[in-house]
């Protein structure tokens, strides 16, 4: 816990008062323990980090400038202030650039106390389950890492509001590589959790089964229109792109894909409801306040296809006469009732995005080759298919929702399900 003493700030307050500056500070403290394994060197590495990061924002005459330092040293702030005052002259002037009117002091702990018990021995025991697993002869371990991290954020402003929030999380990643003389494949599994990171033998077995299926498969399908299912991790990646286009300022500046739309427009399918939830049990991005110190509230971004809300920082909330309740992303909930018979509606399931570089951030068009499984009549995954290209755009995709599964993600910050889409074109 970082101790905040007003006396420590007296010199800074004096400097800022002299220059007639409003300010707010975010102090972010993180501690982490990591275990990673390098098969090339057959080496276990234990890493530890204690970090403090301080971000200072100054506001003067409706202009804003910032600096980040590694700790709140008075000498560094004094040295920086003259440079910041010179720079701030060039900064954007906007009458809405003011210090948020925050005077309250609050505290909240979102962390899971169980995670504090994790030590290197615990992480090593998880790793040994993976390392000691009796893999098929064609498989070698490619990578393993696991960590636990805790964080504390403190917000202080020139009106002496002090806010504190704490959180923690755990993570593991395991990857295997397979080769049979003709073909080479890798497969991986990872999770970010607000629970103990636990490697399960059934997860390793699944990983092994899937990499061997990829390695041995030579299936091809014809270029055609198919009903296609995106597995929940893939859906998360698409929704992430949508979210990063929801900042009010970017939309106004024509930097967003939603720039040509207005709130109230029907943009996606009627099954598309998206909620930003800052307090969701067992998900990792719970927050009490944002970097401007503004209290975060639950927010419906899309409601049954209709675009309902954006993210507003304080400046843009004043411009639009709306409440500034959040200016970044928390836990994201795809609000729907899932269907147990989901696979009945699909012929093909997409399990993994190889990479997402090919999405054009301007048009939302993308062209990718992915990892797929063909489904049989009983909706079991059968053959693995690779090297298929597709060329869609994200808006059209989310206008074609056919059915929603009941397999909502229980880790990370996305509570989203797998989704099946109508009639998507596949090019072999």
């Amino acid at each position: 816990m970082i101790e905040i003493n007003k006396n420590d700030f007296s010199k800074i307050i004096e400097i800022y008062n002299k220059n007639n500056i409003d300010w707010y500070v975010n102090i972010i403290k993180t501690n982490s323990k990591t275990l990673s394994y390098s098969p090339l060197h057959d080496e276990i590495s234990l890493d530890s980090s204690d970090d403090i990061w301080v971000s200072v924002v100054i506001i003067k005459d409706h202009k804003k400038s910032s600096f980040n330092i590694d700790w709140f040293w008075i000498e560094k702030i004094e040295a920086s202030i003259s440079q910041m005052l010179e720079l701030i002259d060039y900064a954007e002037y906007d009458e809405n650039i003011t210090l948020p009117d925050i005077t309250d002091s609050v505290w909240k702990d979102f962390s899971n106390p169980d995670l504090e018990k994790i030590d290197y021995e615990y992480l090593k025991n998880q790793f040994l389950k993976f390392k000691n697993y009796n893999f098929d002869d064609k498989i070698i371990i490619e990578q393993f890492s696991a960590w636990v991290s805790s964080g504390e954020q403190i917000y202080i402003n020139s009106k002496w509001a002090v806010k504190v929030q704490k959180d923690n999380s755990s993570f593991y990643f395991m990857e295997i590589f397979a080769e049979n003389g003709e073909s080479r494949e890798t497969h991986y599994d990872y999770k970010t959790l607000l629970a103990m990171p636990e490697i399960k033998i059934e997860d390793i077995e699944k990983l092994e089964k899937e990499v061997l299926a990829k390695l041995e498969s030579n299936w091809k399908i014809s270029s055609w229109n198919y009903d296609i299912t995106l597995e929940r991790d893939v859906v998360s990646e698409f929704i992430d792109i949508i979210l990063w286009n929801l900042w009010s300022e970017s939309i106004d500046e024509w930097m967003s894909l939603f720039s040509k739309n207005t709130l109230g427009d029907k943009i996606f399918d009627d099954k598309f409801t998206l909620i930003n939830d800052p307090d969701l049990k067992w998900y990792i991005w719970n927050v009490l306040f944002d970097k401007e110190g503004i209290t975060v509230e639950k927010k419906v971004l899309f409601d049954k296809w209709v675009w309902r809300d954006k993210f507003y920082d304080y400046k843009n909330s004043l411009k639009k006469w709306v409440k500034a309740d959040w200016n970044t992303i928390a836990n994201i909930v795809f609000d729907a009732v899932g269907n147990e018979l989901y696979l009945k509606w699909s012929k093909i399931i997409i399990m993994n995005l190889m990479a997402f570089h090919t999405v054009d951030s301007s048009t939302w068009k993308f062209s990718l080759s992915w990892e797929w499984y063909l489904l049989d009549n009983e909706w079991n995954k059968t053959e693995y298919i690779k090297n298929i290209s597709l060329s869609w755009d994200i808006i059209s995709l989310f206008n074609s929702i056919k059915s929603i599964w009941n397999d909502f993600k229980t880790d990370g910050n996305f509570k989203v399900p797998s989704i099946t889409f109508y009639n998507q074109t596949i090019i072999w």
Partner: protein, 450 residues
Amino acid sequence: MKILKSQLENYLNSFSWEFREIFFEKSKTFKFTCVNGKFKTPSFSTLEWMSILSRSWNNEYFKAYNDLNDIFLNIDNFKKEFSLFDNINQVSLLWENELFLEDTKDIKFETKNIIENTLKVYEEYMIKNSFLKSSEISLIISKKFFIVWNTTWNFGKDINFYNTYFVKLIWEKDDFREEVYEKITWTNILHTINYDSIKELIIWSLDVLKKQLSWEARPNGKIDVIIWNESWWTIIHEAVGHWLEADLQNSSVYKDKIWQKVASDLVTIVDNPTTVLERGHYNIDHEWYASRNAILIENGILKSYLHNAKTAIKFDVESTWHGRKETYKHKTLVRMWNTYMLPWKDKKEDLIKKVDYGIYVSRMWWWQVNTTTWDFVFKVQNGYLIENWVLTKNVRWATISGNWPEMLNEIYWVCDDLNFFDWWTCGKWQSMPVSDWVPTILTKLKVSGF
């Protein structure tokens, strides 16, 4: 801050295992973004931090701190956390008796002229362009100096510059939207960016954007592809560089292929950070070893992997000294700095005369690489159809795809126009600026217009 030789010897000799290292880093970064003529929240960042590493066979311990006030206390905490009390080899350092670490507050960036010239060019060339919907210009200047001491040798000190001046332009009308990204990335950016260079960049970017809007052709099939020297820099990095990094040899396609033929005779690829004043230059790597030119593939024959100190021991070879880390928080990996394919004798104009049907690619952008199979796909941002040995229609919204090893064996012509294009950021576990140079080439790839 002053450190005496005797102090440092005490530090390094106070904890255990064969290899021990202390890394200090100080850096300062300045950033501004100008969106539609308005400068958004200009900002500075400074770092003054250290890390400690200890390594024995099969075990490695690492900790990062951001408090330099009491180095002994940090080392003591490190020893306790990992139980590293027993020192088994003493080290004597060979440098001068004391060393000064500069303070970040003394680093000054003179950015006033760049800001003013950016605004001037915006008003003269961008605001008047009615088809331009939005623009973003960013400047990032970063100066990082570091000192590394380790038990193998001695100590080293160097400065790295990571600088970029970046332009993004957006055009939108009806249902069409296009954007273009261009940048200037000279190491000594504060001296090279002036009114003329900013004007040239903006005019060039507007011209590229206009060409993207006037597309006409959608070619398909496996056809001849001429890739201009300014457009395929990522291929040399992704196709060859990474898979020659020794720390990726657990499953690399190039594993155990030293002295084997892996590319066309025309292909010679090196990573050479030694040339002073060029981008990608450094004096010492982040393990303090002096930079050297590493010949990776010579006339199609695989000659060497890229190594740092650790992998060189593993492979029992001399290191190429390519150890790098993103910040004090990270451990040293094998990384590229300044990778290029050597030019040959052909002229670009002559290449077009060799193609009866194909495309000439002048800009590529988004890409995807399957790092296991080496299949790849790139989007053609800007290009031309070649019909009957002349450039004809504009091409965009096409992808070119193939397989890296196959492509390296199917390079038929290499031009004499080696050209540096980019210093960009590679994300192999840690973000790292890298630079790549290539000549124009003729190859055969699958083209998909859509």
